[in-house]
Structures are given as structure tokens and as C-alpha cells.
């Protein structure tokens, strides 16, 4: 019988979104669920981190194209379905701030954003 690997702490969900980028025309096939998303330009440079919250009409399916329309140069996206969309959104912003020293170019300044030093 294989030995169970012991761990003091439970497994940790990856902090950063690292799924492959998808072309924007694939957004029509997104689920209508709530969650977070990222938009990037053609070169894969992150432009915006957003979330599809509880008052969005069709969740990620409506919020991703709507945000892409507002952001010039947004060509790709990736999403994560999560009911914890508010805290996950904050976490992605904090991680980006920690990694890059700034928020993505199309995110508004967040005076009350927390500080994270997540390591790699």
C-alpha cells in the first residue's frame, strides 16, 4: 500500500493565472459563470485583470468581451471560474503589483489594495 505523503499544510492553489491565452473570438463560448479574467495584447503582455461579479448579466461570457471592447489592444484572454471572484481579483492584482511593481496598464489605481510578497 503506497504511503501517504504527509504535509503540515493543505495544498495551495497557484496564486497567478497561468493558463494559455485564448483568442478573443473564443469568448462567445465562455460559461455564464462568475469568475476572474485577464486580457493581453498580441504579444501576450497583460493589459487588464477583471472579474465577472454577481451582478453581471451572463458572467464571464458577457464581461470578457465587454472589457475587451473598452481596452484598446486587447486580443487574448484567459479565465478562471470562481465564486470567490472578489478576493481572487484582489489576489491577482496584488500578485501583479508584487511581480511588476505596478498594476496592469488598464487597471484603475487601487488605493486600498493590500501588499503581498508571494515568492515565486
Amino acid at each position: 500500500m503506497p504511503k501517504r505523503k504527509s504535509s503540515r499544510n493543505p495544498p495551495i492553489v497557484p496564486i497567478r493565472l497561468d493558463k494559455p491565452w485564448l483568442p478573443l473570438d473564443a469568448a462567445a463560448g465562455l460559461p455564464g459563470q462568475l469568475g476572474v479574467f485577464e486580457l493581453a495584447d498580441d504579444a501576450g503582455q497583460l493589459q487588464y485583470i477583471g472579474c465577472a461579479g454577481g451582478r453581471s448579466r451572463f458572467g464571464l461570457r458577457s464581461e470578457v468581451p465587454a472589457a475587451a471592447e473598452r481596452i484598446p489592444g486587447a486580443r487574448r484572454f484567459r479565465v478562471e471560474v470562481t465564486m470567490a471572484y472578489l478576493t481572487r481579483h484582489q489576489e491577482l492584482l496584488m500578485a501583479h503589483q508584487a511581480d511588476e511593481g505596478a498594476l496592469p496598464p488598464h487597471n484603475e489605481p487601487q488605493p486600498r489594495l493590500g501588499r503581498l510578497s508571494p515568492g515565486s
Binding site: 492553489v13 461579479g53 472578489l86
Partner: protein
């Protein structure tokens, strides 16, 4: 025993109830269903109103500028301020202010000048760093974070988990072991600036409470001056323990407020909703749910007010606070669950607040000491420390 509210209590609770209904509930309709913060302009406007009402900073002692309102009345107010969607964890979105870290009222003058007064003015915020990955219910034994004296400083190494607000805070109270051989008498409380080298917020901890995360902290050779010891060296457990008992009363009150609001919504809905040609309220199954709600709410309310009254009089209240926390969190969970059932499919949607209360109320049976620990506290009180 007179269980009626005084004229002043009636007046104050009525004023707060109107504030919640006229100011908070309409605003809440415009926010994300999981939001726990108001837009800054609304927060400032409503804070001015609570100041004008003389009810800002309710838990701040009068000598530090708070209104002189007794604990029973403050508990009644806490039941009112939680009667909205975000009310369990963000009663009135914080516009009534708070005492912040009450432990700092016992700090030295220099510590008060640097941390307490700026906190009360809203210029600084702090966090309470007690729980560790090794456990939270038995802090006297579970604390493994270590502080070692080095000249005029202490060097702290270790970690904390489930800490709220540390990523935004300017400072925090960190409990660390300063004598490994003395159990609960070997823990010291330090005031730590969050810009101290070696202080790290390593990750966000997502929970059922989806509006606000907790954090995991790590301390690496963090150097803290001896002047930042709060209270006595090795006297940290008493500081933590006092806070844990006191906090159980407003914690219970919040659960009661949410239960009251959920019950009120169900009482309004059941006579309107028709099933098989008759109102839902004509069905005995529904009537009994409403009756059980009423009884749950009253039991929790009186136990919580009794704990508050004992604390106000200066009597021992640890057992009563444990009972209030235990009963209110379990009663609140049952009430929200029944109301969700009465609302059927609507009850589980984000159109109504029940699903948020259902998730957040589940945390309440674990937070501020799991209910099993509350039972242990009560049993210890009944049977003596050795449980003989």
C-alpha cells in the same frame, strides 16, 4: 428580572434600525452581492451621519473619545447594524467605526501615541496575529512563532494563518513564544510595523467568506524593539484571552441580527407565495419553521444580552459569553437554512441575501473559537478546571 428595554435603548435601537433601512439597504442594492465595502464618497457621507447621531466609535472607551454607551445597549445596536446582506462581517460597512485593537487601550503612553491614537483617528489600521498553522483553538500551546531577545530588540521567526487585514495594515499585534518551557506563561505580544524587514504576507487564504480574504504571514529574522512589547514579557496569553472572551458577545449579536432579518423576509414572503391554491404560510410545515425561527432568535438574544449584562456589571462572564457564541451561531445557521428553504429556488440565488448569509454563518461556528471549544469552556466552568 426586567427583560424590557429602557426608553433610551428603545430610542437608540429605533434610530439605528431606521438608519439601516433608509441608508444601508437601498445602497446595498447597487453593490456587488458579495461586497463588503462602500464607495469612498458614501462611506464618508454615512460616517458623518453616525457621528452626528452620536454613535460613532461605539466600542471606544469614553476617555478615548467614544460615546458612553453601556455594553447591553451596544449589543442591541450590534443586533440592529447586522440586519442587511453584508451585516454579518461588515455591519453597516463600518460606518459606525470600531475600537480597532482594544488591547492598545492598555498600551504605554508612547505606544498609544504611535499606534492607538492614529488608529482611532482612522489614519492607521492594525491586525491581530494569533492563530498559527499549528492551530488556533489552543493558542497557549499552539504558538510556535519564536521571539528571542537580542540587546534592545527581539528577533521574531515563524508564521501565522487566517489573519484578517494584515496585507493592508500599518501594524499588528503578533503573539510569539518567548519562553519555550512555560506554556501559556511563555507567550508575549509584540506591536509590529508591517514595513519591518522580514515581515511577509505570503498568500491570500480564500474562504466561504468571499468578500474578504484572510492571509498567511511569515516572519524571517524580523527585528522588533523591546519598546514594542505590549504588556509584560510572557504576559501575552492574558491579552489574547481577554480579547477572545469579550469578542464573543458582538460575534453572537451579529448572528442574531442576520437571523432577525432572514426571519423577517420569510414572514413577509410566506403569506404572499401561493402553492397549490393557498398561501405558503397556511402550510403547517412552513408555520413550524417560522415558529422554530422565532424561538431560536429569542433564546440566542436573551443568552447574549445576559452575557453582556454580566460583563457590564463586572461579573465573571466567560461561561455566558461562550454560551451566547455557541447558541447564537447555531441558531443563526438554523434560521438562515429554514428561510432559504421557505424561499425555495430564489433562496439559493444571489438575488437574495440568504446564500451569502448561509456561507458566512457557517464560518461563525468555527471562528472566535469553534463551538466544541465553547462547550469545553462551559464544561470546565461547570465541573472545575480538571473536569473532575
Amino acid at each position: 428580572m426586567d427583560l424590557a428595554l429602557t426608553e433610551e435603548q428603545e430610542m437608540i435601537t429605533g434610530m439605528v434600525r431606521r438608519f439601516v433601512r433608509e441608508e444601508i439597504l437601498p445602497l446595498e442594492l447597487t453593490l456587488d452581492p458579495d461586497a463588503d465595502e462602500l464607495p469612498e464618497a458614501d462611506r464618508q457621507r454615512l460616517t458623518e451621519k453616525t457621528r452626528a447621531m452620536g454613535l460613532y466609535g461605539l466600542d471606544i472607551p469614553p476617555e478615548f473619545g467614544g460615546p458612553e454607551i453601556d455594553l447591553v445597549t451596544r449589543t442591541l445596536i450590534a443586533i440592529e447594524t447586522s440586519q442587511h446582506r453584508a451585516g454579518l462581517y461588515a455591519p453597516c460597512y463600518g460606518v459606525f467605526g470600531g475600537a480597532g485593537l482594544a488591547q492598545l487601550f492598555e498600551a504605554t503612553e508612547a505606544q498609544q501615541a504611535r499606534y492607538l491614537h492614529p488608529m482611532l483617528r482612522g489614519e492607521k489600521s492594525g491586525f491581530f496575529g494569533l492563530t498559527e498553522p499549528s492551530g488556533g483553538s489552543d493558542p497557549a500551546r499552539a504558538i510556535q512563532t519564536r521571539a528571542v531577545r537580542d540587546g534592545d530588540d527581539w528577533i521574531i521567526n515563524g508564521s501565522k494563518i487566517f489573519i484578517s487585514g494584515a496585507d493592508r495594515a500599518d501594524f499588528g499585534l503578533v503573539f510569539a513564544r518567548t519562553d519555550p518551557d512555560r506554556g501559556r506563561n511563555g507567550v508575549t505580544c509584540f506591536i509590529v510595523d508591517t514595513d519591518t524587514p522580514g515581515f511577509h504576507v505570503r498568500r491570500v487564504v480564500h474562504t466561504l467568506r468571499s468578500a474578504r480574504y484572510a492571509t498567511e504571514l511569515q516572519f524571517e529574522d524580523m527585528r522588533v524593539p523591546h519598546a514594542n512589547v505590549l504588556g509584560a514579557v510572557n504576559g501575552g496569553f492574558a491579552i489574547a484571552n481577554d480579547r477572545l472572551s469579550r469578542q464573543r458577545i458582538p460575534y453572537a449579536a451579529g448572528c442574531i441580527g442576520v437571523a432577525v432579518k432572514a426571519h423577517e423576509l420569510a414572514l413577509e414572503y410566506a403569506p404572499q407565495r401561493q402553492t397549490f391554491g393557498a398561501p405558503l404560510s397556511s402550510r403547517q410545515a412552513i408555520q413550524w419553521m417560522l415558529v422554530d425561527n422565532e424561538i431560536d432568535i429569542r433564546q440566542a438574544r436573551w443568552l447574549t444580552l445576559e452575557a453582556a449584562a454580566r460583563a457590564q456589571r463586572g461579573d465573571a462572564f466567560r461561561k455566558e459569553a461562550a454560551m451566547a457564541k455557541l447558541v447564537a451561531t447555531e441558531a443563526g445557521s438554523r434560521v438562515v437554512d429554514r428561510c432559504m428553504q421557505i424561499f425555495g429556488g430564489y433562496g439559493v440565488t444571489k438575488d437574495f441575501p440568504f446564500e451569502r448569509w448561509y456561507r458566512e454563518m457557517r464560518i461563525r461556528r468555527i471562528g472566535e473559537g469553534p463551538n466544541e471549544v465553547q462547550r469545553h469552556i462551559i464544561a470546565r466552568d461547570l465541573l472545575g478546571a480538571s473536569l473532575r
